[in-house]
């Protein structure tokens, strides 16, 4: 066996290998942007970036679990819109206390997110529907429900408490960013340190082996979708509070793609089995910085997709290199 010191170094290198790449890339990107653009490096702008990415970032955290378990969830963006719409409608229906109304909305958003995730999980685990197809179906369903209940338009509230919470800044950092950070810490521990997290990776790595090891593979997969749905619900609640409204047509649109991209850039394996929640956080920040910088350079939003796509492809190619 290895002596302790080299053991420590080995652990550090494996940690760096699994999460270091994306963080190193993030630091380099940050330095380059800070040096090259003075507007970029203003504290206000940096805070703005983190706020902007926090909504899809929360979803990306959940997506990390689904991908770690060998699945994919395309429905999370629609689920955000759906639970956002319903929670604001629910909030508006509560008479009297505004605080109580927000509490009701919070419960609705998170519960609906979880329920949507559970539906995905049931389809995949019990119905044995391939994840891509199951969640493509629910993507369409959730969006359609959002449009139906939101009358294909904006659903807004006049709740001042909600607006305050949505725009709250604590210690200079917006509330959604705090929640993103806290959930990153918690979910990273869940993935790396708990039995559930280990089982998720085992199922993603080789489902048959996991089954032979008496792991309840269906249940484990179910949990991954449940987690993803719940993060979508949490994201919906914070997202609605930002402007005190949710657009049933555009809220959460293509968030699932940002989330998947963040997971990949963060170094998780698309085949499942290997994933890092911290890596995903780096991934989502990289995506946020790239689009912010492109904004500053005045590159049209329509063309930004091209750059994002290139970032994803390059990130994956670089990972392939280091693996070899």
């Amino acid at each position: 066996m290895q002596p302790e010191s080299t053991n420590g170094i080995r652990r550090l290198t494996t940690l760096l290998k699994s999460t270091g790449g994306p963080w190193a890339a993030l630091v380099v990107l940050l330095l380059v942007c800070c040096i090259s653009n003075e507007h970029f490096r203003s504290v206000q702008n940096l805070v703005n970036i983190t706020r902007q990415v926090s909504y899809s970032g929360l979803i990306a955290l959940g997506m990390t679990f689904v991908i770690a378990g060998g699945g994919i969830d395309l429905s999370v963006g629609s689920l955000l819109a759906f639970s956002g719409v319903i929670s604001i409608l629910g909030m508006n229906a509560v008479p009297g206390s505004e605080t109580l109304a927000v509490a009701v909305a919070a419960v609705i958003a998170v519960a609906l997110g979880a329920a949507g995730g559970a539906a995905n999980g049931a389809l995949v685990a019990l119905g044995k529907v391939p994840p891509f197809i199951a969640t493509l179906g629910t993507l369409v369903i959730f969006r359609s429900l959002a449009l139906y209940f939101g009358n294909s338009g904006l659903v807004s509230s006049e709740n001042e408490v909600y607006r305050e919470i949505g725009g709250a800044v604590i210690g200079g950092i917006p509330l959604p960013v705090w929640i993103l950070l806290i959930l990153t810490v918690v979910l990273s521990l869940v993935l790396k340190r708990t039995r559930l997290g280990r089982h998720i990776c085992a199922v993603g790595s080789n489902e048959r082996v996991a089954r032979y090891a008496a792991i309840r593979t269906g249940l484990v997969k179910f949990y991954t979708y449940l987690i993803a749905g719940t993060t979508a619900g949490i994201s919906a609640l914070l997202f609605g509070g930002r402007l005190n409204s949710v657009s049933s047509t555009s809220a959460g649109l293509s968030y699932e793609l940002d989330a998947i991209a963040a997971v990949i850039i963060g170094g998780s394996s698309m085949n499942g089995g290997k994933a890092s929640v911290w890596g995903t956080l780096a991934g989502i920040l990289i995506l946020g910085i790239v689009s912010n910088v492109l904004d500053m350079w005045g590159i049209s939003v329509t063309l930004q997709g091209t750059v994002k796509g290139l970032v994803i492809i390059i990130a994956v190619m670089m990972q392939r290199k280091t693996l070899k």
């Binding site: 066996m1 290895q2 053991n7 080995r10 652990r11 494996t14 340190r193 708990t194 039995r195 559930l196 280990r198 089982h199 990776c201 085992a202 790595s205 080789n206 048959r208 082996v209 996991a210 089954r211 032979y212 090891a213 008496a214 792991i215 309840r216 089995g273 290997k274």
Partner: protein, 490 residues
């Protein structure tokens, strides 16, 4: 007259991350010669083979094949049966056999030719496998046969076989040997790796012995006996192979009644007591399927399973495990271990609950457990964090066994427990199984190696075509009687 020199390696060295695995291998192979390659688990046999196949690049040394520098020209003219199956599980048998060199006509696949060719190759091996079946649905022995057929379908001068017989029984091995002799007569050379030293002695012309990456000897097979080969492999005197048997005794622990599953298992009833019971049969007799049905890994269509007199309602594998019924799969990489997972996490894969408090894993305890198995089974690994794909086949097998053992089984169904394990380690494992049985665990030993069954068991169940053909006790446990029950012919 000496026949033509086919392959010559000189001073082939290879190390991984500073650890030398091959330290200068110099070998010669003549046309029409069968060279046996033996050595302990992790001695470097597979690594040497991978160097010949261009899958690893040697750090130094030269390899000449048919007078050309193989490292430059590539391994054209060499066919190989790899130690770990290299089959695409969603494709059919025929598609796998012709993978990458499909016969075509006007850009379309010539499916009928692929089918008929595959059928002819499999017939030559005397196995009944429909070329249209998906690889996923095959048993391990059948997969092995497909790998062999695939290698035979290639026109080659050198055939490399990395442990092709580990999951085959005597009859199947005998067919393989017949084909090897035919190839030899046709001038094809064979590099043959096996841990079954008797077969090495009978089929090979010369035997090369590797120890820790060093070629310790390369002598004609007739000048060696199995004991001598083993001595050279491990570098010390070996003790008795099989420990004293532990005859089944006491009240029945596991009672299987009228168990059926599809067409594979038909109305099987038997009892297991504490001690070692053997389960023999030909490939496809349903031994693996029987064990899998007991553990709820496979749907049962009728019958019941009782543990210590109590009927169990086993719906999922976790139920069986919860009652202490543990199954070691014969399909190491297919269902036994996670090759992309580190060693320690493989060991605790199914017993993780024991290392958790409120769902949180205690890494210290987990590592300590893995370390104890590494010591106990002398698993050769760089560290506890090493991913299993970097371990040699036999060492992976030991991890698979450790994973099952860590559940403190009451009933242990071993399916080919010593698959790919070297002779020295094998006798350690036998001793270990004996201790387990003596401590009151009911062990069912499924093996295609009759010698192993006869050496370890006082009581043997024999299956034929999904049914229990009979039970043999004590002095009736002989090769003839087992084969009679297994085949139904004298």
């Amino acid at each position: 007259m000496e026949s033509e020199l086919l392959l010559r390696t000189e001073g082939v060295r290879k190390s991984f991350e500073g650890t030398p695995v091959l330290s200068g291998i110099s070998l010669e192979l003549r046309a029409g010669e069968i060279l046996g390659l033996v050595g302990e688990n992790g001695a470097g046999k597979s690594t040497f083979v991978k160097c010949l196949l261009g899958l690893h690049r040697p750090d130094s040394g030269s390899i000449t094949f048919l007078g050309r520098d193989l490292l430059r020209t590539g391994p054209a003219g060499i066919a190989a049966i790899p130690q770990e199956f290299n089959l695409v599980k969603d494709l059919t048998v025929a598609e796998n056999i012709f993978l990458g060199r499909e016969p075509g006509r006007f850009g379309f696949l010539n499916r009928s030719l692929m089918r008929s060719e595959s059928r002819r190759l499999l017939q030559k091996l005397d196995v009944e496998i429909d070329p249209e079946r998906k690889i996923d649905s095959l048993s391990v022995a059948e997969k092995q046969m497909v790998e062999i057929a695939k290698a035979l379908s290639v026109d080659c001068r050198l055939l490399i076989m990395d442990e092709p017989t580990t999951v085959l029984n005597q009859k199947e091995s005998a067919i393989l040997f017949r084909i090897m002799r035919e190839l030899k007569a046709g001038g094809t050379s064979i590099l043959f790796i096996s841990h079954r030293l008797e077969e090495i002695r009978t089929i090979c012309d010369r035997v090369a012995v590797l120890r820790d990456g060093v070629l310790v000897s390369c002598d004609p097979a007739e000048s060696l006996d199995a004991m001598e080969i083993a001595r050279r492999m491990v570098g010390r005197e070996l003790k008795q192979m099989f420990p004293p048997t532990v005859p089944p005794s006491g009240p029945p622990l596991l009672t299987v009644e009228n168990l059926s599953s599809g067409k594979e298992v038909k109305h099987v009833s038997f009892e297991l007591q504490a001690g070692i019971t053997g389960l023999a049969g030909l490939a496809g007799a349903g031994r693996t399927e029987l064990a899998e049905t007991i553990c709820a890994l496979r749907k049962r269509s009728s019958g019941s399973v009782k543990l210590a007199g109590e009927t169990l309602h086993l719906r999922k594998p976790a139920d069986a495990l919860a009652h202490g019924i543990v199954y070691l799969s014969e399909d190491r990489q297919g269902s036994g271990i996670l090759t992309e997972f580190p060693l320690d996490r493989n060991v605790t894969l199914s017993s993780l609950r024991r290392y958790c408090h409120a769902g949180i894993i205690n890494r210290e305890a987990e590592r300590a457990c893995a370390e104890s198995y590494v010591k106990k089974f002398r698993i050769k690994t760089a560290s506890l964090e090493t991913e299993l794909k970097y371990l040699s086949g036999g060492n992976q097998q030991k991890v698979a066994l450790a994973k099952c053992l860590d559940n403190c089984p009451r009933v242990f169904l071993f399916d080919e427990p010593t698959r790919g394990v070297d002779i020295g380690a094998r006798s350690d494992l036998y001793e270990f199984i004996r201790e387990l049985a003596a401590s009151g665990v009911a062990c069912l030993l499924i093996s295609s190696d009759l010698e192993e069954i006869i050496g370890m068991c006082d009581r043997v169940l024999v299956m034929r075509a999904g049914e229990l053909a009979g039970t043999l006790e004590k002095e009736h446990v002989t090769e003839e009687e087992i084969m009679y029950l297994a085949t139904g012919v004298n």
